[in-house]
Structure formats: C-alpha cells, structure tokens
Symmetry: C2
Subunit: 152 residues, 2 copies
DNA sequence: TATTCATATTTAGGTATCCTAACAGTTAGG
DNA sequence: CCTAACTGTTAGGATACCTAAATATGAATA
C-alpha cells in the first residue's frame, strides 16, 4: 500500500519508454549495417568538420571512452576521411580534421539516411508527425540526464 | 530547385529523429552495462515467461538472426534462468521456458530499470511527460516500419 | 515407400564495438 | 627541476552480431 497512482503512472511510462528505446537500438543497428559508415563514425566525422576536434572531446561527445574514439578515428583516417594533426597549442593533444573526401562522405551519408527515414515519416499522419516533433526535444533532455548521471 | 518545403521539413525531422536514436543507443548501452541481464536477454526472458517460446520466434521478435538468439538463450540457460525443452508437436523445434529463478530475475530487472527511468521522467514537467507519452506509440509504429522494411 | 525439398536449431568462424590497464609524451604547479 | 595531472595510443579481452555449414525432423510427391 505504499505506491501512489502517480508513481504507477510514471513506472508504466518508464516501461513503455524502455521498450521504445530497445527497439530503436535494433533499428539503428539495421540502418548502420546497410551503410559504409557506422553512425558512430558519422558522428566523429561531423565533429571533425569544423577543422579541429580533439580526441577526448570526440569521445565525450560520443559517449564512449577515449580508446574507443581513437579506434574509430584511425579507421576514418585509413579511409582517407579525416587527418590527425598536432595541436599547435598543446602538443599532447591531437586535432582531428575532416578531409574533402570526409566532407563529401558526411553529406552523402546524411542525405541517404535522412531520405530513408523521411520516407517512413512521410507515411505518418500530420498529427503523428507533430507528436514526434514535440517529443524529440524531451527525448534529448532525457538522454542528456541519463548520460550525465552515468558519467561518473 | 526540385525540393518542396514539405520535403525539407520531413528531412529536417528525419535528421533530428536520427540524432535522438543515436543518443538512445548509447543510453541503452550504459543502462545495460550496469545490470546483470542485458536488455536483449531480458527480452528473451520475457518471451519465455509464458512457458514456451520457440527460438525462431524469439529471434524474429528480438530483431536478430537465429544463431544470435541461440547464443543468448544458452547464456540464460547456463545462468539457470530458462530451460530448453523439446517441442511435443514438432521435434525439430525447441521450447524455451523461464524457470522460477528466471521469473524472479525478470521482475527484479524490470523493476530496477523502470524505477531508474521513472526517476528521470519524474524531473520532467507534465507537458513534457505528455509529449513523451503521445509520441511513444508513433515511435513504435516507426520502429515497426523500419524493422519490416529491413526484413528481406 | 523412397526421395527430395523445406524448416528448426546448433556449431564454427569471423567482424565490429566497446572496455580497462598499461605506456609514452607534455604541461603545469610547487 | 620534479612530480602530479592530462592527452592520447597500444595491448588484450569481452560481448553481441552475422554468414555459412552441419544435423535432424517434417512434409510433399513420385
């Protein structure tokens, strides 16, 4: 007799939310598996677009540890999509910058994936699209909460 | 000059949607990494609750290939959470059933995760919670579309 | 009934991503 | 200076997924 109706509603929402997230994971995997660049690599590449992201920053932003970021960066470098250069201000640091090929790859990959998703979104009714649009900022907020909470 | 404003809006929504999904993947990974059962294993276990899920069905439902499902099932079996038994109707098939320990594990794992997420959802305003609640069924719909599309 | 084709699962082998721990070089404070 | 803190790479290991091949059973058909 210790549960209030408020709690129950929250827990039920949490359950549905978790289920949607789990599905999303598989959907993302599938999407990634049909592309050349994984979505993590695409994320790295985007951060490298403005010409000088640091490895640590990339890792933090991506939600992974530094060695995992290094690994992806090396793959991108081998593919000719980014360059690693010394940081002029701090020679411990490495700056990761997209090459021209890298820029092109981002645009291509983004366009392809967006068109694919847009195709699905296009089958929704306007009210449904509105619901998604309204929820996305909240999802962002939730994701950030969860990410920060775990960042100990 | 071939893009209509409608398309642009859809593509922009698609972009935001993708970004939210990518974040969700990392959030799920983090959540999973702090628990005994991965969310995939928890999914298997839930299907095994009613006493006889087949391997192929589990795989399909989970969005993975059969050998991947087998792998998780074997782990759960070794942990004493499910039993594999012959299907009385079709001796090619295997029925996966949760043990008593498995049932308990599901309840525990679900409760823990739901409480954790509910804690985050509790920090949202009512309007934000409503937005999430309204969007979840649409997310489900989208996830299913994407899953079916890839199921070739 | 014998053969053949289809279905259900497991096994074997390989890939991608992530992690922790240990190492090397650089910076900055005492 | 010299030590502590920081940035990144290397090495080694875990996990989850996949495809292809093997095994066994079921169904269809000649």
């Amino acid at each position: 007799m210790n549960t209030s109706p408020v709690d129950d509603a929250l827990l039920a929402l949490a359950q549905s939310f978790r289920e949607a997230l789990r599905q999303s994971v598989y959907v993302m995997r599938r999407l990634d598996s049909e592309e050349q660049l994984s979505s993590a690599q695409l994320g790295v590449l985007k951060m490298a677009l403005d010409g000088g992201a640091r490895v640590g920053g990339i890792a933090r932003n991506l939600g992974v540890k530094v060695p995992s970021a290094t690994e992806q960066i090396i793959k991108l470098e081998r593919a000719g999509l980014v360059r690693r250069e010394a940081d002029p201000d701090d020679s411990r640091a490495v700056r990761v910058a997209a090459t021209a090929a890298g820029r092109a790859a981002v645009e291509n990959a983004d366009r392809r994936r967006n068109e694919y998703i847009a195709g699905i979104l296009g089958t929704l009714g306007q009210a449904e699209r509105d619901a998604v649009e309204a929820a996305l900022p909240v999802f962002d907020k939730i994701n950030n909460s969860l990410q920060n909470q775990a960042r100990n």
